[in-house]
């Protein structure tokens, strides 16, 4: 049987996902939403969950590398790294579709300074999963209420435990993976130093340029399946022995599907929803520092993306 508890302890963002998806459920083969989510339909869920999917995608593509300089020899290490993402105010709310029951009606919302009336409201500003209070929508015949956000201004991403293999072609491969029952996670990143091909820095060995290509996939039964592709280029320079500064630009994508059924649907025809997974993040600018002494390496970087990210970790090199 799938052990939800183990996943909760191991992966924070995954825990979030699991709590959200499995709250009040008994069957783990498919995701069932409890009645607290009855106000969410597919269209609404796309906007509500999009910042969360963005966080998951961004955490995939964090801690993919440090310096751009790779030796012409075999190496092997293990890296433990963590990250935190700041949620911008623009991702705390979204333009939610007005429920069908409220279309073509005179509707009212409380704005703090008074009542806002509209005869043809089609959208209403509501909190995303990271936002705060929701705004109830009133009419003389119906009242619609909504699920609120979790009031989160920063979130820790999925922590990475990754194996690193360096090969003499000045290539480095990082591998991440996990599997718990129906949950499956796989990720890898290939880093290649390229400046030597073009003799950009001549015999200067303190500077380097590298490119990377990463792929990540996470799936759970038939319920969700998402994958991310990321590529980028970076420059690094050794400041003092063992200490390198690096910076670069990444382009990343995230796609997939999320499917859930309602445990107690109010409307028997409204039992299931399926949404396409999307992200706010495509471009990421990154600046970092790494220090290696003997078999130990510590690294830290900060990235500007749709959710600005700080990340860091430690690596142990066996050879």
């Amino acid at each position: 049987m799938f052990s939800l508890k183990r996943v909760k302890q191991a992966l924070d963002l995954t825990k979030f996902f699991m709590i959200m998806c499995f709250a009040g459920t008994t069957a783990f083969a498919d995701i069932e939403l409890g009645s607290e989510f009855n106000s969410i339909n597919a269209k609404y869920a796309s906007g509500y969950f999009k910042p969360l999917f963005t966080s998951i995608g961004q955490s995939f593509n964090t801690n993919l590398f440090t310096t751009a300089k790779y030796k012409k020899e075999w190496s092997f290490g293990i890296d433990f790294s963590v990250q935190a993402m700041m949620i911008p105010s623009s991702q705390l709310t979204f333009n939610a579709p007005v429920p069908d029951t409220m279309l073509n009606k005179t509707t009212y919302i409380y704005t703090g300074s008074g009542t806002n009336t509209s005869n043809n409201r089609t959208t209403i500003t509501q909190p995303t999963i990271y936002g705060g209070k929701a705004t109830p929508l009133f009419s003389a015949s119906t009242t619609e209420t909504f699920v609120e956000g979790f009031n989160i201004s920063n979130i820790s991403g999925i922590p990475n435990i990754q194996f690193i293999l360096g090969i003499p072609t000045q290539t480095e491969i990082r591998f991440r993976g996990a599997g718990f029952g129906d949950l499956f996670f796989l990720g890898f990143n290939i880093n290649q130093q390229i400046d030597q091909f073009f003799k950009i820095f001549g015999k200067d060995e303190i500077q380097a340029i590298a490119v990377n290509l990463a792929y990540h996939s996470i799936s759970y039964s038939k319920a969700f399946d998402m994958s991310s592709l990321c590529f980028g280029a970076r420059y690094s320079r050794e400041l003092v022995e063992g200490l390198n500064v690096y910076g670069g630009v990444l382009y990343e994508t995230l796609s997939g599907k999320f499917e859930a059924t309602y445990k107690n649907p109010d409307d028997p025809n409204f039992k299931k929803f399926k949404i396409d997974i999307e992200t706010f993040s495509n471009i990421r600018l990154l600046l970092g520092l790494t220090y290696r002494i003997s078999f130990f390496e510590a690294h830290f970087d900060a990235a500007y993306a749709s959710q600005p990210t700080i990340a860091g970790g430690i690596s142990f090199w066996f050879f």
């Binding site: 709590i19 709250a23 963590v82 109830p136 003389a140 209420t145 989160i152 820790s156």
Partner: protein, 189 residues
């Protein structure tokens, strides 16, 4: 070597900061707040300058008809009255052309009563089929929530205050009051 210790120390500090973020995230994610509507319909009539009467069904009874509340009853940590809408029934053919000084709604525990919504200068025809909205003070909501969760006895009360000096009869007014409650569910329970 000195710089080595510096960077190792920095990485330890960073780990502590980031693990703090993890702890904050986990605790934030354990509590989900959903909003549910509570609909109260009743009629009011009177002949004095101040009428106070119970609104009939109580909040907890009405909440019990809501699935999200019912399914999560054992793990609810807060029941905060949030916003309210007050209007008069559109279907009723008769509405007096009167202006009330105030219409106020209270939750009353023993001798202590809490104001949950207040409407001033209520021109009755303007309220026919037109919800007028209000928001309950947060501190008041928190206090009511505590007492509701303590299962203290209470009643919900409507108070109608007429313009000074008016004491003639006013006939039955069909009142709609919808309150929205913010219910916080502890998902880890």
């Amino acid at each position: 070597m000195k710089s080595g210790f510096l960077y190792i120390s920095l990485s330890v500090i960073l780990s502590i900061i980031l693990s703090g973020c993890y702890a904050d995230t986990v605790s934030s994610l354990e509590r989900l707040t959903v909003q549910v509507p509570i609909m109260i319909q009743y009629s009011s009539s009177g002949n004095s300058d101040r009428t106070e009467q119970p609104m009939g069904r109580d909040i907890m009874d009405l909440l019990d008809t809501n699935k999200a509340y019912k399914d999560n009853k054992d793990r609810i940590e807060d029941i905060l009255i949030y916003q309210g809408a007050f209007w008069l029934d559109q279907t009723d053919p008769w509405v007096p052309q009167e202006t009330f000084q105030t219409v106020r709604f209270f939750v009353k525990f023993g001798s202590q009563q809490y104001l949950i919504a207040q409407y001033d200068n209520v021109v009755l025809p303007e309220y026919v089929g037109t919800p007028h909205l209000s928001q309950t003070d947060e501190a008041t909501s928190a206090e009511i929530s505590k007492r509701l969760l303590n299962k203290e006895q209470y009643s919900t009360i409507a108070e109608i205050k007429r313009m000074p000096g008016i004491k003639t009869d006013f006939k039955t007014i069909p009142i709609h009051l919808v309150l929205t409650a913010r219910i916080t569910i502890n998902l880890s329970k």
